[in-house]
Symmetry: C2
Subunit: 389 residues, 2 copies
């Protein structure tokens, strides 16, 4: 390949945006298929096509100029990707893997059958009556999940009793936009905390695993991560890493696989869901690991050997910044940088709408309490929650 | 500033290119004035104007759309920058500082008078006869330098005796392109090694200093850096840091100031030259320091508080990659990344002409010999000098 290699990225959010720095370093061209000219990644990436990723012709034309296709999100219709792959386009991760991140029912079925992977007790519920029977058997509350289209807490319902069982079917119908959405009933897990493990697998099958991360969600949105997960028993960390590697291998994932887990009070874990792209719970790796999830995702997609996923410091904490509290993030850095010369920030180039993830901060160091205090202060300041040091 | 801040960068080489990643992270727009559409930075930066930086109208029009102007190189005519600054444009570093990086005679005069800064014995030589007298007094060989336009060893002559004294005047006339070029005679320093210290100073006057770096030049081109400079006495390192900070303050530099030094066998140092922009001897900071020189340059230019310049590991080594030995750098990464999962690479997006700097590699760690071996192997491999592990 004496000409420059082009990686096509579908979706113009912050994940595509954060892929750009390692693409520049590696000397590869990133071509973006963006929802609009003003989305976060389209503001900085040079080679941008604006178009609809649900339109066959748009995606096909975009792919024709790329050596390989990858993703900022999981919403490209599987049908389009299957056609592309059948025509010889390198789609990484491929549609057979990706649909397990798109479809939670398929994911539960496959991981249960092939790997007996730890999961909440679950059942496919074609109707409200089946869901109610499942709840009566399990004891209430239970959880219902839409098989497709969920994100940041959408598409998940906690059901207190039989009277709630129509809600998932009513609300998922509204959101389904033509895709077939199924409802899964799941045992309610009164978890102690949430964990995440990120695996990166290359096209040739090499895989690396980042340290297991504790994630703090509020209202379904990832707000903080701590790496490594504090107090996690080494044997449990090894079990979780093996689980991540097994899933990546079973599904033949290429690129980042994020496995979100719930940890019970007895220490055992169950899989919550999968993502196949760089993940919010891996943003710490930009500053905290030898090789970031974004660089390793690109390497995996290019089938280059993967970089060291280990952490450079004993503790690393990421806190997301939500919009709404301040008018301009960059000018707020005056305080934040003066207070903490080791603070790392990443802004996503988005409009600062309330509640929207518009950036994150990262701190690393030897002492968890100190690291946590610095990171939380900076994020709260950038959200306008505090106005002095 | 509720709209996005725009930093204008004049010059489209690798330094502008490497400013882009931190600009994206900080949420600021980088607008480039590039020599052509295909230069390294113009290939990746979205907001590019192609034009001639020696043309008043071009630079003025470019500056009109920017909140502040900074540089990839020191070749913009001082006259243009003075006019811009007089009209109220923020030019950082300003022309009064910058001319000390553009004009070696001015630099020697100012640093000698204001700071009694350590320098080789030097004399302004208006003609060959004066240069010959200087050589006769000093003893041969001596060094002659053109006051302007030198880079990578050009504009520097080692003179063995009186017979060589016309050469600097003849050759600098050819290269002067209308700028007044003076010749400086300098004592020949039979140095033990070369060192570099990078200071970053913000518009408000805050300054930070990176660890002193040993630099290895071949044929006038920086080939390797080792940080910190091995075996440098702590008192000497402190003296060099103070010298850098004093120069930045004396010249009111805004942004990165690189002070290149020669170290004699007795340990004492003399200043070789100055640069006021991110510098080849600071590329290690991208992977090796808490805050890179590129991010700190942008912060300085934006007058934001500066980040921690300290190294994250005991040793960090950078080796430049020169073009000519391989057809495609990215594909050569197959070997390099497989051999060393912690290898860091940065490619400059340039055509791979022989002898041209087209990228660099960085390794860091606890053991200098191990770090050096990894970095040198990778760079040699990427230059096509070796073909097995």
């Amino acid at each position: 390949m004496s000409r420059t290699t082009t990686i096509g990225v579908i979706g113009g959010g912050q994940l595509a945006r954060m892929m750009y720095a390692p693409a520049i370093s590696l000397g590869v061209n990133l071509r973006l298929l963006a929802e609009g000219p003003d989305v976060g990644a389209a503001r900085v990436i040079k080679d941008v096509v604006v178009g609809d990723y649900t339109d066959d012709a748009t995606v096909r034309e975009f792919a024709a100029g790329c050596d390989v296709i990858t993703f900022d999100h999981e919403h490209v219709p599987t049908r389009i990707l299957r056609d592309l792959a059948a025509e010889g386009t390198l789609v990484r991760p491929g549609p057979d893997a990706l649909e397990h991140a798109q479809d939670k029912l398929l994911m539960r079925q496959r991981l249960t059958r092939a790997l007996a992977a730890p999961a909440p007790i679950w059942r496919h519920c074609p109707d409200a009556a089946t869901l109610q029977r499942f709840g009566d058997e399990m004891g209430w509350p239970i959880v219902a999940k839409a098989s497709r289209g969920g994100y940041d807490g959408h598409g998940v319902w906690k059901l207190a009793g039989p009277q709630d069982c129509n809600q998932p079917f009513d609300e998922s119908k509204d959101a389904s936009a033509g895709e077939l959405v199924e409802i899964i009933g799941e045992e309610f897990i009164d978890f102690a905390r949430e964990l995440s493990v990120l695996v990166v697998r290359s096209a040739s099958g090499q895989a690396v695993c980042y340290p297991v991360t504790e994630t703090v969600q509020r209202e379904g949105v990832c707000r903080e991560t701590i790496t490594p997960a504090p107090g996690l028993a080494p044997a449990r960390a090894a079990e979780i890493s093996r689980l991540g590697l097994d899933i990546a291998d079973e599904l033949q994932v290429v690129g980042v696989l994020a496995v979100e887990l719930m940890q019970r009070r007895d220490g055992s874990v169950v899989i919550n869901e999968l993502a196949m792209r760089p993940h919010n719970t891996g943003h710490w790796t930009i500053d905290g690991a030898h090789t970031s999830q974004f660089e390793n995702h690109l390497r995996a997609v290019l089938d280059l050997p993967l970089g060291d996923p280990r952490a450079r410091d004993p503790w690393c904490m990421m806190v997301n910044v939500l919009g709404g509290g301040v008018d301009d993030l960059t000018s707020e850095l005056l305080h934040c940088f003066a207070r903490d010369p080791r603070l790392r920030v990443e802004f996503y180039g988005k409009q600062l709408r309330p509640g929207r993830k518009v950036g994150h901060v990262v701190c690393y160091g030897d002492d968890l309490d100190e690291v946590r205090g610095r990171a939380q202060h900076a994020a709260r300041y950038l959200m306008g929650e505090i106005r002095e040091g």
